[in-house]
């Protein structure tokens, strides 16, 4: 078999598959739509988680740990401790609020005003405000950090700024779990959809395959058109998916802006980016090809002409 006819045959088969899809545009579009939806959902959720994480790392104030030093601690010792902590890899920033600064801030905000001048001594301790490094913001990491800090001799108490942190973290954890489960389900779904579509196509072209086999066509020969169909379904589904993600991004943008506004920011949704889009497309095509390969191989091997 010369390479000429071989290539020619592949090209012909590909065009044939394209032609078949085009001949029943509604059905093809529907299948691609379903694949697109199934691929878009995990991407959308991933996008959500990604954006939520970006938000919470911008809104770093939410992650502050307040370390209250023992009342007896000298300011110099507090400074030393602060610079020691700055060496830790799991902390992004360390800010020292000395007792004097604290009192000054309190005077401004509390409404007690000059009344505080009456105090014999400053009752406030020095406080270290810590921002954990980005990779140490999980609720477990935070708790570990908290207990480690508590054991330092100079430290009186360590408090997470608000329950908000824990809640957000727990929510993100939940969401991430959800994304993983849903993503796995839906990717399996895509393979199943392509597979069962191809399976039906093989069934509905059973006669044709029988005839091909009777005339001396190999299984590979009979399978080829279906592989191209699968590839095309994947490609179409991938394009639908990217479109859906783009539309969803556009539609959800106001809601996200409202959310970021609560952090005093004005940032829209982060998109998929070119590389991830391309990867999604490639994955869709690979899934389509694979689903088709499995379904067609299995079916065709079991078609025996009579």
């Amino acid at each position: 078999m010369s390479p000429g006819p071989y290539f020619e045959r592949h090209a012909q088969t590909f065009v044939g598959a394209l032609g078949r899809l085009a001949r029943r545009p509604l059905a093809s579009a529907l299948i691609m739509g379903v694949i697109g939806i199934a691929l878009a959902l995990p991407l959308l959720l991933q996008l959500l988680v990604q954006n939520a994480r970006a938000l919470t790392s911008n809104g770093a104030d939410a992650f502050e740990l307040a370390v209250y030093l023992k009342p007896a601690t000298e300011e110099a010792a507090a400074r030393t401790l602060a610079s020691q902590l700055r060496g830790r890899s799991d902390l992004a920033a360390v800010r020292l609020v000395t007792a004097t600064q604290g009192l000054a801030e309190f005077r401004e905000h509390s409404g007690f005003g000059a009344a505080l001048d009456l105090l014999a001594a400053n009752p406030l301790p020095h406080v270290l405000l810590l921002t954990p490094a980005e990779n140490s913001r999980g609720s477990e990491a935070l708790q570990r950090l908290q207990s480690q800090l508590k054991e330092l001799p100079a430290v009186d108490d360590v408090q997470l700024d608000t329950a908000w942190v824990k809640r957000l973290q727990a929510m993100l954890d939940l969401l991430r779990q959800l994304v993983l489960s849903i993503g796995a389900l839906l990717l399996a779904g895509v393979a199943v959809i392509v597979g069962s579509t191809i399976r039906f196509e093989v069934t509905s072209r059973r006669h044709e395959i029988e005839v091909m086999k009777l005339l001396g066509g190999s299984n590979a020969f009979a399978r080829r058109p279906f592989l191209y169909s699968g590839l095309l379904y994947g490609l179409g589904g991938g394009l639908v998916c990217l479109t859906l993600v783009a539309v969803a991004r556009y539609r959800l943008d106001p809601a996200v802006r409202a959310l970021t506004a609560t952090y005093g920011q004005d940032a829209g949704l982060i998109g998929l980016g070119f590389e991830l889009s391309l990867a999604a497309l490639a994955a869709a095509m690979a899934l389509g090809w694979l689903g088709a390969w499995v379904a067609a191989s299995w079916q065709i091997r079991h078609i025996d002409p009579t």
Partner: protein
């Protein structure tokens, strides 16, 4: 070319189609297979085309024990046999041209050659000019002739035909039979199952008569 030795064929549902059948078709011969409906004619052709396997006995084709041919070898084996099926087995959604070209496409022949061979084959069965029609747009006899064109297009050394003239009027049937004879004249081994005794007489070839899976050589 074809040798059946003590061949038995019992189908999965328990029906005994062939019982201890032995016969030989020499290379270059033309032989008719006759017998009443259900005698086992199609079963013999199916055994030769490896569509069915014998329950017992040996089927040799072209010096090859067909029992030795496994899954992967079947496709290649079939490419060397031209088969006319009793029910045509045409692809309804492909034009006549594609149907006839199929064996050549499967063999990976180049486009130009395919074009030439398909036209020649269609000409021989009187259907030149119908290349773009679909099988459903043909009469039964025309479909049967497309099936014959497909069987001969790749010039196989062995040609087997199951009732190839059942849907043809007597005159056309005779013409087709002469076509088979011409192939036989250039060295192709031909085995034809048929009910048409007039044609057999006209062709004057050897005849193997079956009755309920047994041979009754006449």
């Amino acid at each position: 070319m074809i040798r059946f030795q003590h061949v038995h064929k019992r189908y999965a549902n328990g029906r005994q189609a062939l019982a201890d059948l032995s016969f030989e078709v020499r290379a270059g011969e033309m032989v008719f297979l006759t017998g009443p409906s259900g005698a086992g004619k199609s079963t013999i052709l199916k055994l030769i085309a490896l569509i069915e396997r014998p329950t017992r006995g040996e089927v040799r084709v072209a010096e090859q024990d067909t029992a030795r041919i496994r899954r992967r070898g079947i496709a290649r084996y079939r490419r060397r046999i031209g088969v006319v099926f009793q029910d045509h087995k045409l692809l309804e959604d492909r034009p006549v041209f594609d149907n006839v070209a199929m064996p050549l496409v499967i063999a990976g022949r180049p486009r130009r050659e395919i074009d030439k061979l398909v036209r020649a084959a269609l000409d021989q069965v009187g259907l030149l000019g119908r290349e773009r029609d679909r099988p459903l747009e043909l009469s039964a006899g025309e479909q049967q002739r497309v099936g014959i064109a497909r069987a001969v297009v790749a010039k196989p050394p062995l040609l087997i035909a199951d009732e190839p003239t059942g849907n043809l009027d007597p005159q056309l049937a005779l013409e087709i039979m002469m076509l088979f004879k011409r192939f036989n004249d250039v060295g192709v081994t031909v085995l034809i199952a048929t009910h048409d005794h007039h044609l057999i007489d006209a062709a004057g070839a050897r005849r193997i008569e079956l009755t309920a899976g047994h041979q009754a050589e006449a």
